[in-house]
Amino acid sequence: MIDHFARALTQWPLFMTGLLNTIWLCASTAVVSLILAMFLAIPLMSHSLAVRTVARLFVDSVRSVPFLLLAFMAYYCLPAVGVKLSSWTAALITLLVYNTAYFAEILRGAWSHLPPQQEEGGRAFGFTGVRLLLYIIGPQLFIAAGPVLGNQLIQVIKDSAFLMVITIPELTFKANQIQSILFVPFETFIIAGCLYWMLCNSVEWLVRRLELVAQTRRAR
């Protein structure tokens, strides 16, 4: 068994390629989706029922479709209606759409618990629109929702493994490739599992560190 591990590990460049692909896919998803989610949270909190309903319909529809199915839709269905995407583009779009909906819902939850005096305080000092969001409301939402956003980020990492089915060479894809070359599936997948474990725990650790900072910056 030890020598099986040793054999699997001879393919470490493939593991690393997969790991790096997983990391950059998830990291760019986290950054871009969080920004998009901030703006999607606005219509979710709108006073207008029509605006709120449209936003809610989008968020709820995306959240009630399995991630894998959404990836299939982007990769197989969009070309059928004339939109041809590379597998990478399809993968990124799937990750972004799916997680923007989740992050937006998390931020909306935090927003609905934000004391209305905070927004009003901002308005009383002349903040409106984007600047109200950027300097007064947004930071408080991220501080309040930090741990929940962290959990969702870990979910992003795990979901990204599904992207192997649309030929994205991320970590699970690469592990599968290695085991099919070397015929040591058990050891290969254990190694891949450990890499996921380390990645997710690093995120967890980072979130906990940020949480310590966040605690001093909350109202209570």
């Binding site: 305080g121 000092f125 409106t128 109202a219």
Partner: protein, 250 residues
């Protein structure tokens, strides 16, 4: 600053009923009255946080909240225009409403830097001077959660002053403070009154009103019942409602 014939109803409840008020430049006006008499709503209307059904508000002779357009029409100002007016009015809230994600210094500097677009180094120097003035310069890097209520309210006053406002509005600034913390906040406000700032202070602190106010306005049930000089009002109130109110608080 002048308010003329302000009317504000929430549903069937008439919270402000034809309220008029003048605060001359350099003057401190204390607004007194029982809870629910419309004092806070009046300040919120002046700061354009509430839209009155009718009435006019003037800041340095300039109509705010509405623009006169056409022969008989008046149009509510846009959000942007109202935001600009609000930067000219400093507001201090009952619940302080400091922004918890910013330090004491950050709370004071964020608006001048981001909204008034003034240079950062200049704003920070001024903010430190303001913190000095409210006696909290050593707390400049603390977040609000680490400050007592009295300290938070003093930071909130410094935050309002940093806007270089034309008028300062105080909405029951000491009502949510522990009794032993009231004094430190009142002495700061008193200092501002003595400097000749233009201020409207809604308060239940009658002793403070008597000492600091140039004029006293007494409100009850959405109406201005009595106005006068503090000594006249507290010494010999003209209306029975004011007499009752003062007796209850003595």
């Amino acid at each position: 600053m002048q308010v003329r014939g302000l009317v504000k109803s929430f549903g069937a409840l008439r919270v402000l009923d034809d309220v008029s008020l003048t605060v001359d430049a350099g003057e401190t006006v204390c607004i007194l009255g029982p809870s629910g008499s419309g004092k806070s709503t009046l300040l919120r209307c002046i700061n354009l946080l509430e839209t009155p059904q009718s009435g006019e508000i003037y800041l340095r002779g300039e109509r705010v909240g509405f623009r006169e357009e056409g022969p008989n029409g008046q149009v509510r100002m846009s959000e942007r225009e109202m935001a600009h007016i609000r930067t000219r009015i400093g507001m201090v809230f009952q619940q302080f409403n400091l922004w918890p994600h910013l330090t004491a210094l950050g709370n004071i500097t964020v608006t001048p830097i981001r909204i008034l677009k003034r240079p950062k180094h200049e704003v920070e120097a001024e903010a430190l001077a303001l913190l000095e003035k409210v006696g909290l310069v050593d707390k400049r890097n603390e977040y609000p959660i680490r400050l007592s209520g009295g300290q938070q309210q003093r930071v909130a006053i410094a935050r309002a002053l940093a806007m270089r406002p034309e008028v300062l509005l105080f909405d029951e600034p000491t009502s949510s403070l522990d009794p032993e913390l009231v004094g430190e906040v009142l002495s700061v406000i008193r200092g501002l009154a003595d400097e000749g700032r233009t201020m409207a202070v809604v308060t239940h602190e009658l002793a403070f009103a008597r000492e600091a106010a140039d004029h006293v306005v007494f409100m009850d049930a959405g109406k201005v019942v009595e106005t006068g000089l503090p000594d006249e009002f507290f010494g010999s109130p003209k209306t029975s409602r004011a007499r009752q109110f003062l007796e209850r608080y003595r």
